[in-house]
């Protein structure tokens, strides 16, 4: 389940979700924080303030702080300045929360997406299934490094965790 506007969301909560859909991941600037599945809740809490729950993809992901700042700035521009950002750790983020639209954007951007550890990948450039993993670690914590043995291009893969 990715974080989504529920049908009983208030108009304010809907407006916040819409705003967050335009906040992009600084490391993968085609993907919004909503598509990445890291926005876990938006609600007016008992303290009267607006709470936005964010979960980190990886414990050490350096983008997390930039994302928090971007969310605050985007909401401030909407006139919402008294926002509390909750860091949600449970349940831990999983790549299953990446939305279908998010997957398609990543693939169009040249980043393959591992749907499950057993499902074969296709090269995002030539579509060939003849690919090999060079390393389980890549340019950011969320990516692994692959190579296509047909077109010989290296490419990043969004890891399945």
């Amino acid at each position: 389940m990715s974080g989504q506007t529920s049908s009983d969301a208030t108009p304010l909560e809907r407006r916040v979700w819409e705003t967050l859909e335009a906040v992009l991941d600084p490391e993968i600037p085609v993907l919004s924080v909503v598509e990445l599945g890291i926005v876990r809740h938006v609600r007016r809490a008992d303290d009267g303030r607006l709470h936005v729950g964010i979960t980190p993809t990886y414990s050490g992901c350096p983008a997390t702080e930039v994302i928090e700042r971007s969310i605050r700035e985007a909401l401030e521009q909407e006139g919402l300045s008294e926002v509390v950002i909750d860091t949600v750790l449970w349940p831990a983020w999983t790549s299953q929360w990446l939305s279908e639209a998010g997957r398609r954007k990543l693939e169009a951007f040249g980043i393959a997406v591992e749907r499950s550890p057993s499902r074969p990948l296709a090269c995002p450039r030539c579509g060939s299934g003849a690919v090999e993993r060079l390393s389980e670690f890549g340019s950011t914590p969320c990516k692994a490094h692959y190579r296509c043995t047909s077109c010989l291009e290296p490419f990043d893969t969004f890891k399945c965790i």
């Binding site: 980190p56 050490g60 750790l89 449970w90 060079l134 389980e136 670690f137």
Partner: protein, 261 residues
Amino acid sequence: MSAAAESALPAAGEDHPRYVLRLADTSLVLGQRLCEWVGHAPALEEDLALGNIALDLIGQARLLLAHAGRIEGRGREEDQLAFLRDAPEFYNVALAEQPNGDFGATIVRQALLDAWQLELYHSLTASADERLAEIAAKALKECRYHWRFSCGWLVRLGDGTAESHARAQEALEALWRFTEELITPDALDVRMASLGIAPPLAVVRARWEARIAAALKEATLRQPSSHHYPWHGKSGVHTEHLGHLLGQMQHLQRTYPGVTW
């Protein structure tokens, strides 16, 4: 964590933050050690792998330090805890602070600790400390692929050339004595286990020993016969290496107190 969840914790006084600091410091010190490889690893892929693992460990350490500071209630935040404590106030296991040595020694140290963190965090997901259980569940996902990396290399080096086998075996002999404290409970471990905050270390020990024995067998490495020297890093008694590591890690904050970006 909510105030309600916080008050539901078993009363553990100073033991509780001390226990969380043990976990935090082990991740922080090991992460700092791995950072020394950045730009120096044998191949680009290994450089990226060690840097990525270090990043995960430092991220885990930050969550744990922040939690320790909160339950300690003395207003110390993660930066103060990381940068303004001296070696005797660090409670990491001494294995984590051992120098990198060659790539083989780094892999042996990493495999011994990855297997331990994997089993420990697995058990900690059931901790009575709700926040600690959440951090453990997050860290566990990362420890799984850390172990795949270090165990994979352990087997490749051990079951590789005569040279790589000899170096891996030598590192194992040198580091094995530091494994005793990973799996032997002291009084604090026992008190934390009785409150349900920590798992009984006997459980972690059995699973760690089985995991390591299987990996060493596949790597054709010989398990050293005894632990024979108990270190007490988790009580703040360290080898001489920790002071040097902290000297480098804390230099900036010690020289310019309160400095910010």
